[in-house]
């Protein structure tokens, strides 16, 4: 304030910006723009919608509930989990070839993996193989943090509640049950397997888990998840990885295996199959359902006709609106004409 501004005057700059005269586009939502725009968008959407719809229709899905809540199901004996190693077998037949690669999912309903407190109950550092967190797990894991002061590894509710039903698929050919090879590799995210989850850098693996206990619901230790394959054992067990990636919605499916090997690389041929289920996971407590799903996928994922229909509907709406507007304009004249 004190210093006298130089002899320049107070005259404001005459620039387009300061005078708010920037070149501008002033779209007016009026017939001229709106109607052709709507028609174009509508047609494009209808096109996409048709494509999506057709793609989705090509996808074949076989879905079977094996909860056993109603008595008719072969697994109803296992429903209440009276005995520990309950096994039940479901038979089914496929009428036509399900084109490969076929994905084998298990599904749960009414299961709130997305519950907030459930979701935070994990220790990512532990799962990253950080042994310091083996001794003292993240407090978020509570109450699955310690069992009588012995740390739980992997701690937390998510790991504790890991799905532990296992499936074996057989193809009945001439009264014989031939096992269908199930590929358990690569069912988890690559980054999960390679980056996010890591076993502690200790060999043998079991030594890393000294002084820890397994989660209370588990029957095996984490280093015993797949004793046959070291690259699928411990934290990097693919089933474990799949489980740890929490589902978004209470009704979800998770990838269990892929059917890609040998004779089945082209898909599941028509015929009779039986599915042997090691029924371990209780769902009666929350009224959930369990199911298995065999499905092939397209470029846009699994079977979902919604998106195609949505595109069709929105596209048609656009067209309808443009027609409505045309009528409106015809009635009320085109204001830009005068």
């Amino acid at each position: 304030m004190v210093k006298e501004e130089e002899d320049s005057s107070n005259r404001p700059d005459n620039t387009a910006f300061t005078q708010q005269r920037l070149p501008a586009w002033q779209p007016i939502l009026s017939a001229g723009i709106v109607i052709p725009g709507f028609v174009l968008i509508g047609l494009a959407f209808i096109g996409i919608g048709v494509g999506l719809f057709l793609t989705s229709r090509d996808i074949q899905v076989l879905e079977m509930d094996y909860t056993g809540a109603d008595g008719s199901s072969p697994c109803s004996v296992c429903y209440n989990l009276a005995d520990k190693n309950c096994v039940c077998t479901m038979s089914f037949s496929i009428d036509s070839l399900i084109k490969g690669p076929v994905f084998f999912y298990y599904g749960l309903t009414n299961y709130f993996q997305n519950q907030r407190r459930y979701g935070v109950s994990r220790d990512d550092k532990q799962l990253y193989g950080d042994t310091s967190n083996f001794a003292s797990p993240n407090s978020e894991c509570a109450p699955y943090q310690y069992i009588s002061n012995v740390p739980i590894v992997p701690c937390g509710s998510v790991a504790n509640s890991m799905f532990n039903d296992t499936f074996e698929l057989f193809k009945n050919v001439n009264g014989q049950s031939l096992p269908v090879p199930l590929d358990g590799k690569g069912i988890a995210w690559w980054t999960d397997y390679n980056v996010k989850f890591q076993n502690p850098n200790v060999t043998p693996l079991i030594n890393a888990f000294n002084g820890t206990v397994r989660p209370p619901f588990w029957s095996k230790n984490v280093y015993e998840l797949d004793t046959t394959d070291a690259s699928n054992n411990g934290f990097i067990n693919q089933d474990f990885l799949v489980w740890m990636r929490r589902a978004a919605l209470p009704d979800f499916r998770k990838l269990y295996r892929r059917i890609t090997d040998g004779d089945y690389s082209a898909g599941l041929p028509a015929g009779n199959y039986s599915l042997k289920i090691h029924y371990n996971y209780p769902v009666n407590g929350f009224g959930g359902k369990k199911k298995v799903v065999f499905s092939n996928v397209s470029w846009m994922g699994g079977k979902n006709e919604f998106l195609g229909i949505a595109y069709l509907v929105i596209g048609s709406l656009c067209v309808v609106m443009s027609v409505v507007m045309l009528i409106v304009y015809a009635k009320f004249k085109f204001p830009e004409d005068n």
Partner: protein, 1492 residues
């Protein structure tokens, strides 16, 4: 200063006493000792040590205190506390929703942005403080025994400082010595109050007669004065000398910090207040904080948001409780027990969840809204500042926004209250015409010259390149009043060159020195009058040479010369030479002091004075009258005794001798005549300067003004010295000023009085009707009154000039009282006032002047367009009614087409009746609803069925009619009374324009307050002077005109404009833009947050109401702050719904802001509903698209976030009306920022960011075609309804703004054509057309037999019909025009109201009880009618064809009447017959005069 040594003891004693007294008195006064006495004692004993030093520190913070203090201040804002509370809630483990550190981020961000802003501001203050603190000044040092350079900050109270010319005062200083022989010191206070004229300050009386230079070492007085306060115009205290004598101190002795010393070589003073206790600093208030209407509305909706938030949280909590409850004792595997292993009861979980949800949903309360609004407003202010159209080249000033947070209020104004003088008018006074001794001098040549100036103003523009060398007017007055104003001294005369460039240049120059532009200075004299002046002065010269008594001069000529002398000397104009604008012209040969005491008086008026030849004895007397009449004197004990010595003989014998002719030495100065024209006059008010310049045109020029004498140069007579005995300054109650001088030619003591005609005319000595002289006088008075009325009718400011000759004994008698008054301790002001009243009686009228206050450029256009914009314009002025009415016509405030209601009452009851009548009248005119009402039905409306008081419900049917209301100050005072205000408002609000004349500043603010509070409307007050300050402060938006009358209005205002006409663009364009931008932005904010938050809300149905969010916490928290922030800021700053040109051409578009059309309460809910719909679309399309898939939580949630962001941005796109590259850029930036952040975030740390841990999610999604498909369809599906609505809106319900936008799209010339043609398409200015009575059958003649008074009415109605048909021919068949026609039909009814109005002051009827009209009344009425008819004849061509009907309430009171006045189409001029002060006798005189 002579001090006896034996006084020392007494002084000590008194000092001791003082110190004892000091303790209890401490909180009332301040005692200042000289510091040098205590220099050795280093502080401890220095009694001044408690006073603050001169170091100023305007910073709020220190380095250490910044953080706590700033945080403390920020937490005063409730929103901040709320957000911190939420952030802290996150630290509670049971309820936390996010990572606690992360949850702090937004709050910390917001707080730190504000803190950084504060810090930067504080740093700037610190730097300027430092600069000021390190300025130099001279302080007396006892050790060095001389003045030493010191920094300002080292100056302490009690220091002696020496000031040189053009130095800035470092502190408030008591003036002890001045190099000026008159012991004066001139200061310029422009930086303090913006007044450009010089102010005189006087040396403290005790030091006045100090012959030698002031020696600080000898000083040992004590000053006792008031505590520091912020009243610039008050300073009280006294100085106690060692002798025990006390001398009073007044504001005339105090030099204020920040002022500049002018005209004075050197001054010495003692510091009284320093640093922050100086008056300048105490007056420095920070920027004002107001809350705009929009923000108030917004806060309501924020409150609704809180309610919605709570409802959502409650819903979720209950849901969670139920969800938990349904599982009963069987805990599902995915349930998580409490950390201690027990399961939580559903109720407890619900309670915890409630708190969690508050955290999760916090985004609903827009944390960044407040910050964004502030940012947008700052940008808006920047753009307003930058607008070239609001830049005034002449003064090199542009609009200032002083209040930063009410820009959008500018777009919502409904009422404008304007000052007149200086706001609508230039406040540049131009002498137009005068009348002397009853003869009018029309000054036609002068009028032509002024017209030429005006022409040039309008014709030539732009060619003037604004040279960088021109000095500028300081635009901002702040506490750092340290501007050194560079002045150009090369003021060559530009007179009569006619070049606008030069004129402009001169006007810029003159800003620094005086008010006058060449237009004001150059007065082309009326040849007739000039001849007379010449004749007169030559006669006088002759008489002087021949020692003939001046009384032989014919009274006409004497009056003329006296008239000009009065013009010249009856003022406070200071003369300075042009080459040194601030240097007083000195032509002094003999030091004479004005009459100070009775002794002095006696001495001067007795022969002994001549013989003694010395006036040194007066040094014992310390009384001195100020030349402004506001001195403070102490009584001299000897005055009474000496007065007794007075006797007549002493006078009579001495007079001839004393008042000898001008000393011959003056003749030697004739060479200076050449320079005479170059003299500059610095006046306190522009009127004074105008008069002095006018007098100069007649060669009667003011040459010099000193406190005790005025030198005037007259033709033939040369320079005459008028000894100035007293100046009785102007005050607003007396409305006049007087000077008492000794006339050098006649040797008489003469009083010249100049003042408002209404007061002066009452003070004229009633002429003695017997003699012919008396008759002549009477005639003069009458004619003058007549001319005055004409002047007023012409919109001129009138002043009456009068003279009075006092005999010596009269003067002595008066003087005695006056001196008593001056020396009185108590009630001095009132006594002085009474004393002035005593003097100003029995005056002899010399003449009157008419000064034009020119309308500012573009005022009528501005008013017209503001009115078209639906703004009600009220003018509140202190001017008198006639002048105000005429200015109102000139600036199109009043329309000749419309009727004027004039309210003049002089009692409460009369006022009540008048209001009642007016209401009836208005109702009768405009509110008769159905068209088929018969006359009888109509009549029944007049029955006094209305009950008191008028309730507000009664007011509501009133709408704006084509009516004008004129009310004077006195009536206004009654109308503003509690009991009448409702009625007054009812009347006033139904009038299209309201004009309050003669209103005081307080009344102005009361009117504004009344309208604001009762009508609940947005008010804007605009004014330029100190008298508008209170009004400006009361209004919602105060606008100051940084014009001629100083900076006080500007200091109080929210916006300061250089010119009135800029109001148009400020309101219509910037106001509209600011409002619509901000309104849209706020709505968008609510929408955005609601839309985003409800996504999470929907998700709660799918996650067991557990408070889980599929949106990653980072996105959730930074969504508002980063991803969606910029585009809305850009749109909020730059969007233009309609172009500036169209907005100005179609002022009607402004109404959208007035009616809050951009942001109505329902719009909030519409937006909320839209937000809910959109979020449903954004939630469920991905939901179904991913149903039955193995998608995981965040792979599903991230697309939703992306979709939401895109939807929100496209929504903004739909709402954006103007797309510039900045908009595109900001939206692109937002999207890019989101993806960049997401990609980086998702790739950064595989194990961090619990619980979401979104490693590689976005990368994975980007490979998924489904993601793109979703991102395409969802925003379109979500926005389809809104888009459809907007598209149809443009066609189906084209509101004016949209039409404006469509006009903008048209090519420029087509648009111009359309704008030129049809204003009707957009909407009529009269929104609510009142249902009016169709009375076509009712012919005017039908009333003739009923009421004789309708003759005038019928005449007018015919004229009116002609007018109406004319307008029809013009093709403007608009409802108003039709209405006009009906008015005229209805008009004859009006007089019948008279029946209810038989009012006399002696017999006030009960309100509402009509009395039958008495014969006397109707008699009176007829007479008035005749009079007014005569007045039509009387009138000059100016007052033509005016029909007026006046309803007189009492025969003797012309003022108590309702005047329903209309005019023919040629334009209305007030009849000029009825002056409030006009007496019937005068009216007779007028008619007499007409007969002549």
């Amino acid at each position: 200063m002579a001090r006896d040594s034996d006084d020392a003891g007494a002084a000590k004693a008194s000092k001791a006493k003082r110190q004892r007294k000091k303790k209890p008195k401490e909180n009332k006064t301040r005692t200042v000792h000289a510091n040098i006495l205590y220099d050795n004692a280093k502080g401890e004993e220095n009694p001044n040590r408690h006073y603050v030093n001169n170091k100023i520190k305007t910073t709020k913070y220190t380095l250490l205190s910044f953080l706590p203090k700033n945080l403390f201040e920020q937490f005063h804002r409730f929103a901040n506390v709320y957000f911190v509370f939420i952030a802290l809630l996150n630290f509670v483990p049971v309820v936390n929703a996010f990572q606690p550190e992360l949850a702090l981020a937004p709050v910390v961000f917001i707080l730190s942005v504000t803190a950084i802003k504060d810090l930067w501001e504080d740093y700037r203050r610190h730097r300027s403080d430092k600069e000021i603190n390190h300025m130099d000044c001279l302080v007396y040092s006892r050790l060095e025994k001389r003045y030493m350079e010191k920094y300002w900050k080292e100056v302490r109270v009690g220091d002696f400082i020496r000031l040189r010319c053009n130095e800035i005062l470092p502190a408030d200083v008591l003036l002890l010595s001045s190099s000026d022989p008159d012991r004066l010191c001139h200061i310029e206070t422009a930086t303090l109050d913006g007044e450009t004229n010089l102010k005189q300050r006087q040396v403290v009386r005790s030091f006045y007669d100090l012959d030698c230079e002031f020696d600080p070492l000898k000083y040992n007085s004590i000053i006792e004065c008031e505590k520091p306060n912020n009243d610039l115009n008050r300073f009280r205290g006294y100085i106690i000398h060692r002798s025990g004598r006390r001398d009073a101190l007044s504001k005339d002795n105090l030099l204020l910090r920040g002022c500049t010393i002018r005209n004075t070589e050197e001054a010495v003073g003692i510091v009284i207040y320093a640093g922050h206790e100086t008056k300048a600093m105490l007056n420095n208030n920070g920027p004002r904080y107001k809350r705009s209407k929009l923000e108030r509305q917004m806060n309501v909706d924020v409150f609704w948001c809180v309610i919605i938030l709570l409802v959502m949280c409650l819903f979720t909590a209950v849901g969670h409780g139920l969800w938990m409850f349904q599982y009963g004792d069987k805990r599902p595997v995915f349930d998580v027990l409490s950390p201690d292993g027990r399961d939580l009861s559903p109720i407890m979980s619900a309670i915890y969840l409630f708190l969690t949800m508050i955290i999760v949903f916090q985004v609903l309360i827009p944390i960044s809204l407040f910050v964004s609004i502030e940012i947008v407003k700052i940008c808006q202010v920047y753009f307003i500042h930058q607008d070239l159209d609001l830049y005034d080249e002449e003064t090199d000033s542009h609009l200032q926004c002083r209040a930063l947070n009410i820009t959008e209020d500018l777009g919502q104004m409904q009422y404008i209250f304007s000052d007149k003088t200086g706001t609508l008018t230039e406040n540049k006074m131009v002498f137009r015409r005068c009348t002397v001794a009853g003869v009018e001098y029309s000054h036609d040549a002068n009028a032509r010259r002024i017209a030429m100036y005006q022409e040039m103003d309008s014709e030539e523009e732009e060619c003037m390149s604004h040279g960088g060398t021109l000095p500028r007017r300081d635009s901002v007055t702040s506490y750092q009043s340290a501007h050194v104003v560079l002045r150009s001294h090369s003021t060559k005369s530009h007179r009569r060159t006619g070049s606008r460039a030069e004129a402009k240049r001169a006007s810029i120059l003159s800003k620094h020195t005086a008010f006058s532009s060449p237009m004001e200075k150059d007065v082309t004299p009326d040849p007739q009058l000039l001849d007379k002046v010449n004749e007169c002065s030559s006669q006088m010269d002759f008489m002087r040479l021949h020692r003939q008594p001046m009384s032989q001069l014919t009274s006409d000529l004497a009056d003329i010369i006296d008239f000009f002398i009065a013009l010249t000397i009856c003022n406070t104009v200071v003369v300075s030479s042009p080459n040194q604008p601030r240097h007083k012209v000195r032509m002094r040969f003999e030091l004479k002091s004005p009459v100070k005491t009775i002794e002095d008086f006696i001495k001067r008026f007795t022969p002994s004075r001549l013989t003694s030849g010395s006036n040194s004895s007066s040094s014992s007397s310390l009384n001195r009258s100020s030349n402004r009449g506001c001195s403070s004197l102490l009584s001299s004990p000897s005055a009474d005794s000496t007065l007794t010595k007075l006797n007549e003989e002493q006078f009579s014998g001495s007079l001839e001798h004393t008042f000898s002719a001008v000393p011959p030495s003056y003749d030697g100065k004739t060479s200076s005549n050449l320079e005479e024209g170059e003299l500059r006059y610095e006046a306190e008010s522009p009127d004074e300067a105008a008069l002095v310049y006018a007098a100069r045109a007649y060669k009667c020029s003011l040459v010099e003004r000193l406190p005790d004498q005025v030198t005037v140069e007259l033709p033939h007579l040369g320079k005459l010295n008028f000894e100035l005995l007293h100046t009785l300054g102007f005050d607003s109650t007396r409305k006049r000023m007087s000077v008492v001088v000794r006339h050098p030619l006649t040797d008489q003591i003469t009083v010249y009085t100049k003042g408002a005609d209404s007061v002066i005319m009452d003070l004229i000595k009633p002429p003695d009707t017997g003699s012919s002289k008396g008759k002549r006088k009477k005639k003069i008075v009458c004619r003058t009154q007549n001319y005055l009325n004409l002047y007023a009718a012409d919109g001129l400011r009138t002043l009456c000039i009068a003279r009075k000759v006092l005999s010596k004994e009269e003067y002595a008698c008066w003087l005695q009282h006056h001196l008593q008054a001056e020396t009185a301790i108590q009630g001095r002001e009132e006594l002085l006032f009474e004393s002035a009243l005593r003097l100003e009686t029995n005056l002899h009228l010399l003449g009157a002047t008419g000064i034009e206050d020119r309308l500012q450029d573009g005022v009528p256009e501005t008013i017209a367009s503001l009115r078209k914009a639906g703004l009600q314009i009220w003018v509140l002025t202190g001017d008198k009614q006639e002048t105000a009415v005429n200015i109102a016509y000139a600036c199109k405030l009043l329309d000749p087409e419309e009727e004027i209601l004039t309210l003049n009452a002089d009692s409460q009851e009369a006022c009540a009746l008048l209001l009642e009548e007016s209401l009836h009248y208005i109702q009768a005119k405009f509110l008769c609803s159905s068209g088929d009402q018969t006359t009888n039905a109509f009549h029944s409306n007049f029955a006094p069925v209305e009950t008191y008081p008028f309730s507000s419900s009664h007011i509501s049917p009133f709408s704006v009619h084509r009516l004008g209301l004129v009310i004077d100050g006195r009536t206004l005072a009654y109308a503003l009374d509690k009991s009448l205000e409702d009625k007054f408002l009812a009347v006033a609000r139904s009038c299209r324009s309201v004009l309050c004349c003669r209103s005081t500043p307080l009344q102005k603010s009361m009117v504004v307050k009344l309208v604001r509070n009762k009508l609940k409307v947005m008010t804007l007050a605009i004014g330029d002077g100190a008298n508008d300050v209170s009004m400006i402060q009361v209004a919602d938006v105060g606008v100051g005109i940084s014009g001629q009358e100083g900076m006080q209005a500007v200091m109080a205002s929210d916006f300061a404009l250089p010119r009135f006409r800029y109001l148009q663009k400020l309101l219509l364009v910037h106001g509209h833009w600011c409002y619509s931008r901000l309104a849209n932005m706020i709505l968008y904010f609510f929408y955005k947050n609601a839309m985003f938050v409800s996504l999470i809300f929907w998700y709660q149905f799918y996650c067991g109401f557990s408070g889980s969010a599929m949106v990653d916490q980072w996105y959730l928290i930074f969504f508002n702050l980063m991803f969606s922030a910029f585009p809305q800021l850009i749109t909020g700053t730059l969007d233009k719904d309609v172009s500036a040109e169209t907005l100005q051409r179609l002022p009607q578009l402004y109404m959208s802001g007035q009616n809050s059309e951009e942001y109505k309460p329902y719009m909030f809910w519409m937006n909320m509903i839209d937000a809910f719909y959109q979020s449903l679309a954004c939630f469920f399309i991905p939901y179904f698209a991913y149903a039955d898939s193995d998608v995981d939580l965040f792979t599903w949630g991230t697309p939703i976030t992306t979709i939401a962001l895109l939807t929100i941005l496209v929504q903004l796109g739909i709402e954006t009306k103007t797309w510039t590259w900045v908009n595109w850029l900001s939206i692109a930036f937002s999207v890019a920022l989101f993806f960049t952040v997401a990609l980086c975030y998702n790739a950064s740390c595989p194990t961090c960011y619990s619980p979401s841990n979104p490693y590689w999610t976005m990368q994975k999604l980007l490979q998924d075609p489904l993601f793109y498909l979703l991102c395409t369809i969802t925003p379109i599906a979500a926005l389809l309804p809104r888009y459809f609505y907007r598209a149809c809106q443009g066609t189906l319900f084209p509101n004016p703004v949209r039409v404006g936008r469509q006009l903008d799209k048209l090519p420029a010339d087509t648009r111009r054509n359309i704008l030129g043609l049809s204003r009707v398409t957009v909407g009529s200015p009269l929104r609510a057309e009142p249902p009016f009575l169709s009375l076509n059958k009712l012919s005017p003649e039908s009333w003739n037999n009923k009421d004789q008074r309708s003759i005038a009415g019928s005449k007018t109605s015919q004229a009116k019909q002609a007018a109406a048909s004319q307008t029809e021919e013009k093709g403007q068949i608009s409802p108003p025009a039709r209405m006009e026609k009906h008015f005229s039909d209805l008009f004859p009814l009006a007089p019948s109201e008279l029946d209810a109005l038989p009012y006399t002051k002696n017999d006030p009827p009960l309100p509402g009880t009509p009395q039958p009209p008495s014969a006397k009344d109707s008699e009176c009425f007829r007479r008035t009618l005749q009079l007014s008819d005569q007045s039509v004849n009387v009138s000059t061509p100016l007052v033509s064809q005016t029909d007026s009907i006046q309803l007189n309430l009492a025969p003797d009171r012309a003022s108590e009447c309702v005047r329903f006045r209309r005019s023919s189409e040629t334009g209305l001029r007030p009849d000029g017959t009825v002056q409030p002060a006009c007496r019937t006798a005068q009216q007779e005189e007028q008619s007499l005069h007409t007969a002549l």
